[in-house]
């Protein structure tokens, strides 16, 4: 298990836990981020800028600040084959 903010780019990740305050969690649920979703880190802003996260389950993209990505726990999904 690792933090989304520290996860490798371009690998499939499974959301294990979404921590953080109620407001942030509600917002993430509303945007279609839930436990067990598959996500991928696609890009990042310079100077410790936000992360661009693609949700493979919902097929949507969201920019997340580092602080928020730090509180999302993910597992790296092993590559098939």
């Amino acid at each position: 298990m690792t933090r989304l903010s520290e996860a490798p780019h371009g690998r499939q990740l499974r959301i294990v836990d979404i921590q953080g305050g109620e407001g942030v969690r509600r917002r993430l649920f509303a945007l279609g981020f839930h436990k067990d979703d598959l996500v991928e880190v696609n890009s990042q802003g310079i100077l410790r800028g936000p992360l661009l996260i693609k949700n493979l389950t919902a097929d949507t993209s969201v920019a997340l600040g580092r602080g928020i990505a730090h509180r999302i726990m993910v597992d790296i999904v092993p590559d098939e084959g």
Partner: protein, 642 residues
């Protein structure tokens, strides 16, 4: 509104194409854009469709009925106030799984509803084939596939809408897992009628369980203490069983149900090939290239407007000058000449000096909005916004501010935190809007060269950053951080961009231009009566001694409060010269100081009014005071340097 006119509400998640669909049906009235939550104004239109009168309402996009932004809160209150006869739920077929979560919530509400399965073309391109009949069966409401941008499926959608209005299509909410459903049912049964929202006990029970403390639970605690403890018990039972907060359990129930519906109604052939928008996105969101492109877009924005506007302006000024000479020949120098001259200056100035820059700017803004670039700029600039105490979500209001500050202030409603809203609203009046861009291009670029105008822009942005930094020292409240959806890139349609430009232009011609003309005529009259000298003398300490400008310019600054362009047009009139001969009466340095002062010295009347309305009297006056202080400081600085 007549009682017998049925109300139809369009509701959907941001970027579902809701406003485009609404436009196609209700006749080009709502503005659309490709940024989450930019249709901040809801639009009412009474429209006659195939001989039937409908009251059609377009609400801002929302992800769910548990609002977290001020813009989303509007939606709930509207839903209950309007008591719609029909909801048209617009769903983005290309992200169906996520979109259906709102659909499920709307089904819980129980109002008659049909689903517009929009962007089916985009979904097909992504390899997603949705079977509308199957989805219809699963949801229990009519599902009509549409492509709003091409007008496909609109006829069928309207037929379905009329059918439901005539026959009151019943809506049945879908059930969740047994244990949660049981708790909801139990609570719903015990709710007294007076607290039931929208005539739906189950919906009320769900909202009581999942809503946060601020929502109606407090009322319940006061009115029915025994029911409050019952609610707490129900929540606790759910939380103990699922080991998660009740709101999360309910969100997860909807999520799983939505995914199940998506899987059962759709076939997905997801190939490995990258589509064009993904490839483009990889470049424009790249940690290095992305910033280069952002800079290039900024430069292109600037040069394009200048390269189109400059020659046009030169072309139009000639005839205007000849007309004025002709007038003075005919009419002499009496009152009639002054009135006619004011009229010509106002109309001609608007046409020759303002429009050449204004129209290309509007078009370019529409392009960036429709493409979906604003959200991407928000992502790229988030780091820099943190330096001034904000985050990337404020970028879109700022960029909109380059068009006009008024919608920019309105769009701060997409910000969750009141603190961010306030700081952003205070900074927006410092963003050079189209009126100020016109002044900068027509004066600084035209007389000092485009490099100077560009420098002016960079100075302006630095100034905004410095003020932001300063403001965030006073309002420390930590900001929760960036959560911003990046919608898929959409190829902007020329039609839509032209329509947007036209709408903005129309409102300029209708509201701003008459002000320009009236201002010019008033100045003409004042000159005729020699009253301008009195006003100019009053302002002379600031204008002449402080800023080192010619005394006649004092009066133009006063009028700049009405419209910024007015200062420019009146400047020529006050100095009594042709645009081409401006440099004979005023130096380049003075042009620079004048532009700096006019750009910053006060938000224009419309911006002031919208600040008052959106953030309150205090902030509006704070903004005005701040602007005056900044304008004086900045122009003195410029005067000292040059």
């Amino acid at each position: 509104m007549k009682v017998d006119t049925p109300t139809v509400i369009f509701l959907g998640q941001p970027n579902s194409g809701k406003s485009t669909l609404f436009n196609a049906i209700a006749g080009h009235k709502a503005l659309t854009s490709n940024f989450p939550g930019t249709s901040y104004k809801h639009t009412h239109s009474e429209v006659n469709i195939e001989g039937r009168l409908l009251n059609v309402v377009d609400l801002p996009g929302t992800y769910s009925l548990n609002p977290s932004e001020p813009a989303e809160k509007v939606i709930l209150s509207h839903l209950f106030q309007e008591k719609p006869d029909l909801i048209v739920n617009v769903v983005d077929a290309s992200i169906l799984g996520r979109s259906l979560e709102l659909t499920l919530e709307l089904l819980e509400l129980g109002y008659p509803m049909i689903v517009a399965l929009n962007m089916v073309d985009l979904a097909e391109k992504k390899g997603i084939h949705v079977d509308p009949k199957k989805l219809e069966k699963l949801l229990g409401v009519r599902v009509v596939p549409t492509v709003a941008s091409h007008g496909r499926g609109l006829k069928e959608l309207l037929e379905a809408a009329f059918f439901c209005l005539d026959n009151r299509c019943p809506v049945v909410s879908l059930s969740w897992s047994g244990d949660v459903e049981e708790e909801v049912g139990r609570l719903a049964e015990r709710l007294p009628t007076e607290i039931i929202v929208a005539g739906n006990a189950r919906f009320t029970a769900i909202k009581l369980i999942e809503a946060n403390k601020t929502f109606c639970v407090g009322v319940l605690a006061e009115a029915k203490p025994e029911l409050k403890s019952e609610l707490d018990l129900a929540k606790k039972r759910i939380e103990d069983k699922r080991r998660a907060p009740a709101y999360e359990v309910i969100a997860a129930e909807r999520h799983h149900l939505a995914l199940k519906l998506f899987e059962e109604s759709s076939r997905v052939r997801r190939g490995k090939q990258l589509s064009w928008d993904q490839r483009v996105d990889d470049v424009i969101m790249h940690p290095v290239l992305g910033y280069l492109i952002l800079l290039l877009i900024f430069l292109a924005f600037f040069f394009l407007i200048f390269k189109i506007g400059g020659p046009l302006e030169g072309l139009l000024l000639g005839p205007l000058g000849r007309l004025r000479t002709l007038l003075s020949g005919w009419l002499g120098a009496g009152l009639i000449f002054h009135l006619a001259d004011g009229l010509v200056q106002g109309i001609g100035g608007g046409a020759a000096i303002v429009l050449p820059y204004f129209v290309p700017l509007l078009f370019f803004m529409a392009f960036l909005e429709d493409l979906g670039y604003l959200a991407r700029a928000g992502f790229l600039l988030d780091t820099f916004m943190h330096r001034i105490g904000l985050h990337g979500k404020s970028v879109s209001p700022f960029i909109l501010g380059f068009g006009c500050n008024v919608p920019a202030v309105l769009s701060t409603r997409i910000l969750e935190s009141p603190r961010d809203r306030m700081i952003t609203s205070l900074l927006i009046p410092f963003i050079p809007c189209s009126a100020r861009t016109t002044i900068i291009l027509a004066l600084v670029a035209f007389y000092l060269g485009p490099a100077w105008a560009l420098g002016f822009y960079f100075f302006n942005i630095l100034l905004v950053a410095a003020i932001g930094r300063l403001l965030s020292l006073f309002f420390k409240d930590p900001s929760p951080g960036l959560i911003l959806e990046i919608p898929s890139l959409k190829a902007p349609s020329l039609m839509n961009m032209a329509r947007k430009t036209y709408l903005e232009l129309k409102s300029f011609v209708k509201f701003a231009w008459p002000l320009l003309v009236a201002g010019s005529i008033v100045l003409s009259l004042l000159q005729f009566l020699a009253l301008d000298k009195v006003l100019n003398a009053a302002f002379s300490p600031l204008v002449v001694h402080g800023l080192g400008l010619p005394q006649p310019l004092g009066i133009t600054l006063v009028f700049g409060f009405l419209r910024k362009e007015l200062s420019l047009i009146m400047m020529l009139q006050a100095l009594g010269v042709e645009y081409k001969n401006l440099l004979t009466v005023i130096s380049r340095e003075q042009i620079l100081v004048f532009t700096v002062f006019v750009s910053f010295f006060i938000p224009c009347l419309s911006t002031f009014a919208i600040l008052w309305k959106e953030t309150g009297k205090k902030i509006a006056f704070l903004s005005a005071g701040l602007s005056i202080a900044v304008a004086i400081a900045a122009s003195l600085l410029v005067r000292l340097i040059f």
